[in-house]
């Protein structure tokens, strides 16, 4: 019984082993792995003595080999009893049988080498290791999964460049792919990894995988030696092949003049010092220009003041000085009236009334103070604080020696005028008994002609002349002056807006600038009546009265006849209706009545004076003159 039990157990054991032996059958491949796990629980169990696979690899995807360990340590077993069997599936079913390894030798000891005829890619393989008929190990794989290329060959390096400091250098490392890998036909694609280190170091530095067979290595120190090695792997795999042989890189020695340490430009220090210096300069600047900066930041509020006048003057009450300064300032007023250089102006001022009350114009006129009278004519007002020294005011400036006026520029003109007047006087003298018709027309005609031409300027000029001349006779005869009215008539309004005073009074004045009393302004006949305050009509005809109304048309001139020296108011009316042009020059030979009433106010600058408004000269009123004296007028007017 015991023997049977022993035999039974043996048989069971044998069948068990037999069963395990047949586990290689493809249909029950699930078990080999379990048996493998059981038999080979871990790598540390090699001491159990069973051979097992270490690795299988294909270097180029064309062949592969498998290696195993010969677990026999005891040395008792027959070393040649280990066998490898393989099977590969070419069809759906495992119909084939296990085949033995075709080459145990080529790959070394304990290896099996499958050459290209035995290798099929993308085909599952299973191999098993048997020892004394019993499977000791089994493995299944596909060839493309076990690719581990050979190491690259032919490593060499070339120097790329050396840094300027002479401390570092760059090199280019080149190699060749493993010879058995058919890279050229594209059957396998490899990528490489380079590692390098200093000779005495232990840690390798790794670079990223590259696909090309050369790679630059940067920043190697010149005084050190380096080691370089390369390994490769199939591009999509994870396992690398073996490393190539180590390449020794011996760089040329450093030049003795190179710096020991890398010299870094001290940018940091420079920046710090630069900022510090700038800050110092800025502070100095601020401190030196404190006041100015304060002014810039907080500008002072402007206090009202007049340029040149010290407020202290006002405080002290020195009005004279202030007045002086103010007067000087007024000198800088621009010239308004550029075109009327021969026209005297009226300045109608409120202050004039006061002045007049103080000292009547009559008194002033009567006084021999030419300057003042001139001033009055010019209506200059000292008290107003304004000077009226306009350039065109030649008459005033002629005698203008007042302190308020700066008549330096205006002196030549009156002198000129004076000269003309003298010339005229000379003419008169020369002509002596020449009929006034000669002189008068000569002077008249220009005005007439000019009037015909409607040229204001020459007329004005001539008018000015006569005005000027008229003024003088006026002035020189105080008695006649006494009879002169306070008012002057507006003869013209210049375009600039100034009022042209009518020189109508000159006819009455009968004073010539010349020294010959009998001779009027040189324009009048010699036989004018001196004792009469007014020019008589007849006399007036001889005189050129170039003091027209602003509105009186020049048309009167053409009608003015030499013979017909008599200008009545009727003749005036004929022209009164005409629309006046303010610029129209005064017509010559027009006796201007003292008073007229305004007929029409046509424009801001035009007044049509109604000559007819005047009562026609009464015989009583009219003397031989066509004028109405003030007294007469007073009788007429309400």
């Amino acid at each position: 019984m015991d023997l049977w039990q022993l035999l039974l157990t043996l048989a069971v054991a044998g069948s068990g082993s037999a069963v395990s032996g047949s586990e290689a059958a493809p249909a029950i491949l699930g078990r080999p792995s379990q048996s493998l796990q059981r038999v080979n629980p871990g790598p540390g169990t090699n001491s159990s003595g069973k051979p097992k696979f270490t690795k299988c690899r294909s270097p180029e995807l064309e062949t592969f080999s498998c290696h195993w360990t010969d677990g026999v340590r005891h040395g008792l077993k027959n070393p040649g009893s280990v066998q490898l069997f393989y099977i590969r599936r070419s069809t759906q079913e495992w119909t084939q049988e296990w085949k033995e390894c075709p080459d145990y030798v080529s790959a070394g000891e304990n290896s099996c080498y499958f050459n290209s005829s035995y290798t099929s890619i993308w085909i599952p393989y299973c191999i098993k290791l048997t020892s004394n008929g019993g499977t000791v190990d089994q493995k299944c794989f596909s060839v493309e999964e076990i690719v581990q290329p050979d190491p690259p060959i032919g490593l060499n390096w070339t120097l790329l460049n050396i840094s300027l400091t002479g401390i570092h250098a760059d090199i280019q490392v080149r190699w060749e792919p493993p010879p058995n890998a058919d890279v050229q036909k594209g059957w396998i694609v490899l990528e490489y990894e380079l590692q390098y280190k200093e000779v005495n170091e232990s840690q390798w530095k790794m670079m990223d995988p590259v696909l090309s067979t050369s790679v630059p290595v940067y920043s190697l120190r010149l005084d050190k030696e380096y080691e370089v090695r390369v390994r490769s792997r199939q591009r999509n795999s994870e396992k690398y092949g073996e490393f190539s042989e180590v390449l020794y890189v011996a760089l040329p020695q450093m030049s003795p003049f190179a710096c020991e340490e890398d010299f870094q430009f001290p940018w940091f220090l420079i920046i710090i010092f630069g900022i510090f210096g700038l800050t110092m300069i800025l502070f100095l600047f601020i401190f030196s220009k404190q006041q100015r900066i304060k002014m810039l930041i907080l500008p002072p509020v402007p206090v009202p003041k007049i340029k040149g006048i010290d407020p202290d003057l006002l405080k002290e009450g020195k009005l004279e000085e202030v007045n002086t300064i103010l007067a000087i300032h007024d000198n800088y007023k621009p010239e308004f009236y550029n075109d009327d250089s021969w026209v005297e102006f009226i300045e109608l001022d409120i202050d004039d009334a006061d002045e007049k009350t103080e000292g009547s114009d009559t008194d002033r006129l009567l006084s021999n103070d030419h300057e003042k009278s001139l001033n009055i004519l010019g209506a200059k007002d000292d008290d107003s604080g304004r000077t009226s020294c306009y350039e065109p005011d030649i008459l005033e400036t002629d005698f203008n020696a007042s302190d308020v006026c700066d008549g330096t520029s205006e002196v030549p003109q009156p002198q000129r005028l004076k000269g003309e007047v003298d010339l005229l006087c000379l003419d008169q003298k020369n002509q002596n008994n020449l009929p006034s018709t000669d002189t008068a027309p000569t002077t008249q005609q220009p005005s007439v002609i000019l009037a015909k031409e409607n040229k204001p300027r020459p007329l004005v000029i001539s008018g000015t002349e006569s005005t000027h001349q008229a003024a003088h006779p006026q002035l020189s005869n105080p008695s006649s002056l006494a009879n002169i009215d306070f008012y002057a008539q507006v003869s013209d309004i210049t375009p600039a807006g100034s009022v042209v005073l009518s020189p109508g009074q000159k006819n009455k004045a009968g004073i010539s600038p010349c020294d010959r009393p009998p001779e009027v302004v040189s324009l009048c006949q010699a036989n004018f009546i001196m004792d009469s305050a007014y020019f008589c009509e007849a006399d007036a005809k001889k005189c050129i009265t170039v003091a027209p109304h602003a509105e009186v048309e020049s048309r009167v001139e053409p009608s003015f006849n030499q013979e017909d020296m008599y200008i009545t108011t009727e003749s005036l009316t004929t022209t009164a209706g005409r629309s006046g042009t303010a610029e129209r020059a005064p017509s010559s030979g027009m006796p201007v009545p003292d008073y007229t009433s305004i007929h029409i106010v046509q424009s801001p600058r035009g007044l049509v004076l109604n000559a007819t408004a005047l009562p026609l000269p009464d015989k009583e009123f009219l003397s031989s003159c066509g004028y109405v004296s003030t007294d007469q007028l007073n009788k007429i007017m309400p």
Binding site: L29, L61, D182, K185, V189, R235
Partner: protein, 230 residues
Amino acid sequence: MDNKGWSLKAGSLLPLLLLVSELLLGQSVASLPICPTGAVSCQVSLRDLFDRAVILSHYIHNLSSEMFNEFDKRYAQGRGFITKAINSCHTSSLSTPEDKEQAQQIHHEDLLNLILRVLRSWNDPLYHLVTEVRGMQEAPDSILSRAIEIEEQNRRLLEGMEKIVGQVHPGVKENEVYSVWSGLPSLQMADEDTRLFAFYNLLHCLRRDSHKIDNYLKLLKCRIVYDSNC
């Protein structure tokens, strides 16, 4: 099981990064100039076409390798799938060259057609793979996203290959031969073990076939474009 929980968190992050990098690679693939569809006169050079095709096939193989490794790590540990997976793939019926000599001997037009067949054979399985991975419990994002990407890139590679065939071998339009995949029922099995094994098998086959196509294309590129002198 703790392992699984931890690996789920950590593992989902890293593959996500990898996937992003791969998607960027895919973008680089997408950024290549492409002839507008339907343009008759547009002629991309053969070299460019092959370059693009190789890039695509390489990318698909990368994705499938990673997907397989991910799956293996996550689901197949300790299940002994590896030996069982020596099962055939559905594309084994296509007689493709199995080593270098065979590949060199075959005419490149035939090889191109073979590639087309393999690619067409995978249209259906990839589509179902995506659907079924979505339905898996704890559907892993890394595997799912890769599956989706592979499916799309496979379609594009197929288009590119058809263009190449049109240039290399114009006129002849072979019948659309491909091998039918019948593994869908096993993917939908109730038994988890069987189902997981079916997935494992499919992913294994996908990795293998993508490597095959990648290799063929590189071979053809060197042969046609560079005249066997890469």
